[in-house]
């Protein structure tokens, strides 16, 4: 009895906080997504499915596709850059390895807003990149890089690369090197050993890293806003506009729910793949 009483005291604050300030707010988004918008930016408590019907408008499906494909390209780019990086780091001399790892963690701790702003400094028409190229090639016509989908893509890869590297490193560091030696002793070429031993064994890291990159990038608002200049719309920006300028909260709620749906599908696929890789490993 006494133990139960202790557990209740320990759990009360977190349960209270989660119900009041997380679950109830999510429920209110859900309810808002089914009501009508008022004339002057408020809401009218009349049930409607119109907000969800609007989602299937060609315009919003296009924006949705852009967000999802951008997030997928970003995940692939992070994997492409991060995998060899984590692989090399996991085999580095232990003495210097921690410092190298620390250098990956520092960006994770620094302000995301500032790290995004740094790319404005580099990519602007009179930015660092164009100025440097102008010095090397005197006839250089400045490239318009900022406020393009490319700038958004670079900013997202930059912002989320550490989220890919860290789980990959954790998976590759635990990798049993004797398995690779065994594969090579049995006549496998290094390439074959890599694809048939290293990659399957590091799959949990690949999956975790991909999740950690995909989810925040699909709903990203700040990077497209600052580096895309609002010229190209992503789902995060459309949601922001519904709440800040357009004042169509019900439609913004429906968009948010769709975004949650995409994230949920991603999470389910992740757990499926993880289970599969675990059952194959045993």
């Amino acid at each position: 009895m006494r133990r139960n009483y202790h557990l209740l005291i320990l759990l009360f604050p977190v349960v209270f906080w989660l119900i009041c300030f997380f679950l109830l707010p999510l429920v209110s988004v859900f309810i808002y997504s089914f009501i009508e918008r008022g004339t002057y930016g408020g809401v009218r408590w009349i049930f409607t499915l119109e907000n969800y019907e609007r989602l299937f408008d060609g315009l919003y499906l296009g924006i949705l596709w852009r967000s999802v494909s951008t997030a997928l390209v970003c995940t692939a780019a992070c994997l492409f850059l991060g995998y060899p990086f984590a692989y090399y780091l996991a085999r580095y001399k232990p003495k210097h390895r921690n410092i190298l790892l620390l250098l990956v963690v520092v960006p994770f701790w620094t302000n995301f807003l500032i790290r995004t702003y740094a790319w404005i400094l580099i990519l602007r028409t009179e930015g660092i990149l164009n100025n440097l190229l102008g010095v090397v090639f005197p006839n250089w016509g400045p490239l318009e890089l900022l406020n393009t989908p490319l700038a958004v893509q670079i900013g997202l890869v930059y912002g989320y690369l550490p989220f890919m590297i860290l789980p990959l490193y954790a998976a590759l560091e635990q990798l049993d090197m004797s398995l690779l030696e065994a594969a090579q002793d049995l006549g496998a070429s290094p390439r074959r050993a890599f694809w048939h031993v290293t990659v399957p064994l590091s799959l949990p890291g690949i999956l975790a890293g991909s999740m950690l990159v995909f989810i925040p990038t699909v709903g990203a608002f700040l990077t497209p806003d600052l580096l895309g200049g609002g010229k190209v719309s992503y789902i995060g920006n459309v949601i922001e506009r519904q709440f800040k300028t357009a004042r169509d909260w019900p439609f913004g709620s429906a968009l948010s729910f769709m975004l949650m749906g995409i994230v949920l599908v991603g999470t389910v696929l992740y757990f499926r793949a993880l289970q599969q890789s675990e059952s194959e490993a045993t």
Binding site: L24, W109, T110, L113, I114, L161, P162, G236
Partner: protein, 261 residues
């Protein structure tokens, strides 16, 4: 193959650090243009001291982060203790629910809280921002403290109880000192995340209440001046101090655990 890997390492580090270094270097630039080098100066830093709006935003950020850290660290620690010490019916459900706020895109959490505040007539401003920051910080603190609680042995606590200490004494004399590095690490992480948060603050602060991140955002949107480079450099320096402190506590965790073994 080794060459390719080494080239990749170098490229990734360049990619990660050139932008940050660019901000730092250009904070000492005397030109009026943010990215055209003219000469060396400290004047942008001097101008920061005269900027009343900046200091107000700075003070707000410190208050929000301070209060949110205290609340989130307390709740996160009790949650971690419950998770690690007890087996109860809804444990897995609670765990999933707890990590959900940091898994869903932050814009969704932000607008959910905004709608909730409007519905319940909770005024947007200081209080609403603190509540919102706690939602994601509780999860992070729980993760860090749980890591510390895992792989520490309960025999010390049992010994204390055998020697006649009550549970309250056992907690403060044995458990707390042992998990303190984890709690401090969690608090440092929560404080940093709170100071750096933009999206959730932007939506839950309402008009007129500005934290440092929101202040920088409005500077970026409505007229970029080289002063932003100086503000950013100060914040970068601050982050680096915090990460070093965090690692010191985490480092102490691992070495003391090794000593125990």
């Amino acid at each position: 193959m080794k060459r390719v890997l080494e080239a990749n390492i170098g490229l990734v580090y360049l990619f990660l650090y050139v932008p940050i270094l660019a901000v730092v270097v250009f904070s000492f630039n005397s030109g009026e243009q943010i990215s055209v080098w003219k000469g060396f100066t400290f004047s942008w830093y001097a101008k920061l001291f005269e900027d009343a709006a900046l200091w107000r935003a700075c003070r707000n950020s410190l208050i929000v982060a301070g209060v949110a850290t205290v609340i989130a660290t307390s709740i996160g620690t009790t949650t971690a203790l419950a998770m690690e010490r007890y087996r109860f019916r809804f444990r897995t459900a609670l765990m999933r629910c707890l990590y959900l706020p940091i898994i869903i895109p932050d814009i969704v959490l932000a607008i959910a809280l905004l709608i909730f505040y409007v519905q319940t007539a909770i005024p947007v401003g200081l209080i609403s921002v603190i509540i919102a920051h706690c939602v994601f910080n509780i999860a992070y603190v729980t993760i860090v403290v749980r890591a510390r609680l895992q792989g520490y042995d309960n025999t010390l606590e049992e010994a204390a109880r055998d020697l006649g200490a009550n549970e309250w004494q056992t907690f403060w004399r044995i458990t707390f000192p042992l998990i303190a590095p984890g709690i401090i690490g969690g608090a440092l992480l929560a404080f940093t995340l709170s100071i750096d948060d933009f999206v959730i603050t932007f939506f839950t602060a309402g008009v007129g209440y500005t934290t440092l991140s929101v202040h920088i955002y409005s500077l970026l949107k409505f007229g970029i001046t080289p002063k932003i480079n100086a503000i950013s450099t100060m914040l970068l320096a601050n982050s680096i101090v915090f990460i070093l402190l965090f690692l010191r506590f985490q480092g102490r965790t691992t070495t003391s655990q090794k000593q125990e073994i």
